[in-house]
């Protein structure tokens, strides 16, 4: 292939180095595939959209056109949606669930009858067998009640996922049918008092019994959703494994039935929101688990846990979007009827701004969520964990802002229990916390991308460090060119363009951002190398830029499709897209300017200093303004 020949050439003839930079873009379009296959053997996917952004590339075939579902599938989903919607509007009393901190059994039975306990379980095991996209669609409705959404998510997004993803045929046959019907409820037991993300501090231990037929599990797990009544649990515990003749502790995953005995659940936690969901401590005391209940192989629990966590997140985008859409309905009615100074609230600019924000956030979340779901539904086992994490971070934060703004529209009324807004605010607060806190997900997003870019760029950076003048000069030249306003063309618009011409300006902004992002990442790698792991403030900005870029891509792709096939109100989508892209463009530029600066200039040094002073004293240390010294 020409790439290889080119590399060989460049090695043989020193003059090739001179050619390299100018051809780099050309080459690297194909190069990542080679690189990736080498470095990420576990991931079967060749192409990845978000990771390529770190190289300043838009892998447009991944995200354009916007993923679609077939007509039959659409019909099918509509059939599912209608009764669920009806059920949630008529049978579910969210206020009561919140107040009594319990989902009534009839409601749970209703959910089971609708099949909502096994949305993604294949039909052969008695589930609905729906795709990720359809799951996301149903979640839009389910999210109208936070408690139910969390209960269902704990059951099927993480609880039974282990069996579904890594279980063997016998395990699937044995457990999935009952779980899918809701006869049994699942839970996911990973977190421990001393261990959140840290696998090394997991204390729960599984020891093989003398006859070798059972593992005995001892330990306790905290914050287990559905922990009070789950019949089947995916439990992660430390096991002794022999690796190359050395005994080592490794995490393994087990299917544990409550019926095995020795399991006690603590008192349900009294929570701020999602009060109807059951969260409690689960203690395991010599619970005998048959060896055939090990998920995957013994010692392979880490990967399983990671995959389950990574796969469950994408649906939060559609959930939040569903919630915001509902809130818009509720608040707009109030804003259009409440009069002040002979004017409706809706005529005031500051109120209008809130509605614009809500509509835009819902639009962006929806676009991101369904784009990611569509990517995940493609054949193969695509790794969309980065994208899913971004959807989660964006939608949980925007969701929180929107809910609070919706409450603000109603003012004091919103603050009372007469309206559901305060409940939404409380329920919504969990979103940035669970399924991986946003801080941790930002680290994941930024570091995964950095690792990818670092592998691809290693050669180049090393050469730059060793002082290759021609390379350095060409870099300077490139920077100069772009700073002089040479337009960046990554192929979104123009002859082979994929973005509709009416969105050209926004697409250009995306391209410009992506290009700048690529060079920013390169300079960050050059500056920090592997110590970037410790630069959390920088990684946070990197993650934020990436999230914005992905969001821009999603809305551009979605709006382009809407225009092209003439969906109703697509002009509104164009409006939202352009507004969002404009906003995100400026935010990104600001973030990237900060990224290019050094710690003393971008305030990072100050931030750390302030925090240190406060944390060293564990108090706010300024003197009171009323203090005096004379």
């Amino acid at each position: 292939m020409s790439v290889n020949r080119f590399l060989v050439l460049s090695r043989t003839f020193p003059i090739g180095k001179q050619l390299l930079p100018s051809h780099l873009r050309h080459v690297s379009k194909k190069a990542p595939n080679l690189q990736q296959r080498k470095s990420f053997q576990t991931h079967s996917r060749n192409l990845a959209y978000a990771k390529d952004l770190f190289l300043g590339q838009v892998n447009k075939s991944e995200v354009f056109p916007y993923p679609e579902i077939g007509n039959e599938e659409l019909e099918e989903i509509k059939q599912f949606v209608a009764p669920v919607e009806k059920f949630f509007s008529e049978e579910v009393d969210s206020a009561k669930i919140d107040q009594e901190a319990k989902i009534p059994p009839e409601t749970l039975n209703g959910l089971k009858e609708l099949g909502l306990f096994g949305i993604m379980v294949p039909e052969e095991y008695g589930g609905l067998g729906l795709s990720n996209t359809m799951y996301a669609r149903l979640n839009e409705i389910i999210a109208l009640d936070g408690s139910i959404a969390v209960t269902l998510a704990a059951h099927q997004a993480i609880g039974l996922k282990g069996i579904l993803m890594a279980g063997n045929e016998a395990q699937k046959q044995k457990y999935l049918p009952k779980l899918a019907s809701g006869e049994q409820v699942a839970a996911f037991c990973l977190t421990e008092p001393g261990s959140g993300s840290d696998a090394a501090s997991i204390q729960t231990r599984a020891t093989l019994s003398e006859d070798g037929k059972h593992y005995l599990i001892n330990g306790s797990k905290i914050w287990i959703s559905n922990g009070g009544f789950a019949d089947v649990m995916t439990v992660f515990a430390r096991t002794e494994v022999e690796v190359d003749g050395v005994k080592k502790d490794k995490i393994s995953a087990f299917i544990v039935e409550r019926a095995f005995g020795g399991i006690t659940s603590g008192k349900p936690e009294d929570k701020l929101g999602i009060r109807g969901s059951n969260t409690c401590e689960v203690a395991f005391d010599n619970v005998p688990v048959p060896v055939e209940n090990v998920i995957g192989e013994i010692g392979g629990g880490f990967k399983i846990a990671m995959n389950i966590l990574n796969s469950g997140r994408f649906s939060m985008g559609s959930s939040s979007a569903g919630m915001i859409k509902k809130l818009i309905e509720l608040t707009s009615e109030y804003a259009s009827t409440r009069k002040q100074f002979n004017k409706n609230l809706s005529e005031f600019g500051m109120i209008q701004e809130k509605f614009a924000l809500m509509a835009q956030s819902a639009f962006v979340m929806e676009s991101m969520a369904y784009m990611t779901a569509g990517m995940m539904d493609r054949p193969g086992v695509p790794d969309c964990s980065l994208e899913a994490a971004m959807v989660k971070v964006f939608s949980s934060e925007a969701g929180w802002v929107c809910v609070s703004e919706a409450l603000q529209v109603l003012g004091g009324l919103g603050y009372t229990k007469n309206y559901p807004f305060e409940r939404y605010v409380r329920d919504c607060r969990i979103l940035p916390i669970f399924e991986g806190t946003n801080e941790i997900l930002r680290m994941y997003v930024a570091l995964t991308g950095m690792q990818y870019a670092g592998k691809v760029l290693t050669g180049k950076i090393k050469e730059m460090k060793s002082g290759n003048i021609t390379l350095a000069m060409s870099m300077v030249g490139k920077k100069l060119k772009s700073s002089l306003g040479a337009s960046v063309d990554l192929g979104l618009t123009g002859k082979d363009g994929v973005v509709h011409p009416s969105l050209e300006e926004s697409a250009k902004k995306l391209e410009q951002n992506v290009n700048l992002f690529g060079s920013t990442v390169e300079s960050l790698l050059y500056r920090y190398g592997k110590t970037i792991v410790d630069e959390q403030l920088i990684l946070k900005r990197v993650a934020d830029v990436l999230i914005n870029l992905y969001a821009m891509t999603a809305v551009l792709s979605r709006a382009s499709r809407s225009i092209s096939i003439g969906l109703r109100n697509h002009d509104h989508e164009v409006l939202l897209t352009n507004t969002f892209c404009n906003e995100a463009f400026f935010k990104n530029n600001y973030l990237m300017v900060q990224l290019q600066k050094h710690a003393p200039e971008n305030n990072d040094a100050n931030i750390k200093k302030i925090a240190k002073a406060v944390l060293d004293n564990r108090a706010y240390i300024c003197s009171h303004p009323l203090e005096r010294t004379y």
Partner: protein, 432 residues
């Protein structure tokens, strides 16, 4: 009032003093009418004393008389009142003030602002305020101004901040632009700025109880909010059956969770050391502490924990890149790191012998079982008892008192004054 000639002579002198700061210092060192500053040569000491008697025979007697009864704030005030009432012209008030300033520590009022103000009130009002530009240009009533400055200076040395009353008095006595008012302004400029300059303030009154003092000192050294103070033994005096007095020393220790963690990881084959006593100065008091420490790990034992890629469920803890941080972003200072070895715990006791410290180690062992398996070596220097006196006599000069220096113990009776002198000297030094 003094003879005009003499006044003239003083004023010349003082003009020099005030406009040339160096001279001021010089003069301060030579004469010591305000307070005993340099008592190094006995010859001069006698000389000064005579001079004093000459100047302020009357006032001196006054204080002596009162002092015979009791030395309190009330009697001090009484003396001032007696002086004020004695003569409407306040004859000899400068001498009186100088004498009073010197006597203040004796009466225990050297930190009392009210007394200073009262003393200032002894000056007749409006007499020394310059009335025309010539008076203003030259040093008007220099002896009185000098005396006012001296009073403020003593306040300064004791860290007493003047208040508005002081200012009003000074303005009434010396006028808006007199030297004492200037001095007042300078004090008011710097004092508030320096009031909280010490990030580790020591209270004016240290706790009396040795256990409380130890608790305070240990938390001060440890500087770790998690560190836990344990009283292993309270001081206790008992009479045995044979009539012997048995005194048990207090043992107060401190240890933080991170220290416990370090200790738990201690290599069992290597000893831990109990070392001390080390001095800690809290204003004028010196206390001593002991540490439990170990030698730094030899390089061959320092194994870095290998990176476990299956450590974090959510994100990579390390990147597989083979280039490091670039120089431009390396903000570390180039400091030579010297590994001093871990300190596992600290304690204070009134009796630093091995038996007492052993008791401390035994107490520590309850929470640090590893101490039962590790040999503990005692590396103790002569106890604090002999050191205490020596330390006091060389106050502030060396942080580590030398056992030899107890020769100077003879002076320890004058401790308070010596320290006072010390402080005064130090503050002069600052002013230069």
């Amino acid at each position: 009032m003094k003879a005009p000639l003499e006044r003239l002579g003083w004023s010349n002198n003082d003009a020099k003093v005030y406009y040339n700061p160096r001279h001021q210092v010089l003069r301060h060192l030579q004469s010591s009418r305000a307070c005993a500053k340099s008592r190094t040569t006995p010859a001069r000491f006698v000389d000064e004393e005579e001079k004093k008697r000459e100047n302020s025979l009357v006032t001196h007697d006054l204080f002596e008389q009162v002092a015979r009864e009791s030395k309190t704030k009330a009697t001090f005030n009484k003396v001032i009142e007696v002086f004020i009432k004695r003569d409407i012209r306040r004859r000899g008030h400068v001498e009186f003030i100088y004498a009073a300033l010197k006597k203040m520590p004796e009466f225990g009022v050297e930190r009392d602002l009210v007394v200073y103000n009262k003393l200032l009130d002894v000056f007749p009002k409006e007499v020394f305020v310059p009335r025309n530009f010539i008076q203003r240009m030259f040093n008007h009533y220099p002896r009185q101004q000098e005396c006012g400055v001296q009073l403020l200076e003593q306040m300064e040395n004791y860290g007493i901040m003047p208040n508005v009353e002081t200012k009003v008095l000074l303005v009434q006595i010396f006028g808006e632009k007199g030297h004492p008012v200037r001095k007042y302004q300078r004090i008011m400029y710097w004092f508030p700025k320096f009031k909280h300059i010490n990030p580790f303030p020591i209270p004016q009154q240290l706790p009396e109880d040795p256990v409380d003092l130890a608790r305070f000192s240990l938390t001060r050294i440890a500087n770790d909010l998690d560190a836990k103070v344990t009283v292993y033994q309270l001081p206790y005096t008992d009479m045995t059956e044979s009539g012997e007095e048995l005194t048990l020393p207090h043992i107060v220790g401190i240890q933080s969770p991170s220290q416990m963690e370090l200790l738990a990881k201690h290599n069992l084959n290597r000893p831990v050391f109990v070392e001390g006593p080390f001095p800690l100065w809290l204003r004028k008091t010196c206390v001593h502490y002991y540490v439990l420490r170990a030698d730094p790990k030899p390089p061959e034992e320092q194994v870095e924990e290998p990176y476990d890629p299956e450590r974090c469920f959510d994100y990579p803890l390390q990147l597989e890149l083979d280039f490091d941080r670039d120089l431009g972003d390396n903000e570390d200072f180039d400091v030579e790191d010297l590994d001093e070895g871990p300190v596992y715990a600290m304690c204070m006791t009134s009796q630093g012998d091995q038996a007492t410290l052993n008791q401390w180690i035994a107490g520590l062992q309850q929470n640090n079982p590893v101490l039962g398996q590790v040999p503990a070596l005692f590396r103790l220097e002569p106890g604090p008892r002999e050191l205490q006196g020596a330390a006091e006599s060389v106050s502030g000069h060396s942080s580590r008192p030398h056992p030899d220096s107890h020769v100077e113990n003879a002076q320890s009776g004058e401790d308070a004054e010596v320290i006072l002198e010390e402080e005064a000297r130090r503050s002069h030094g600052m002013k230069q």
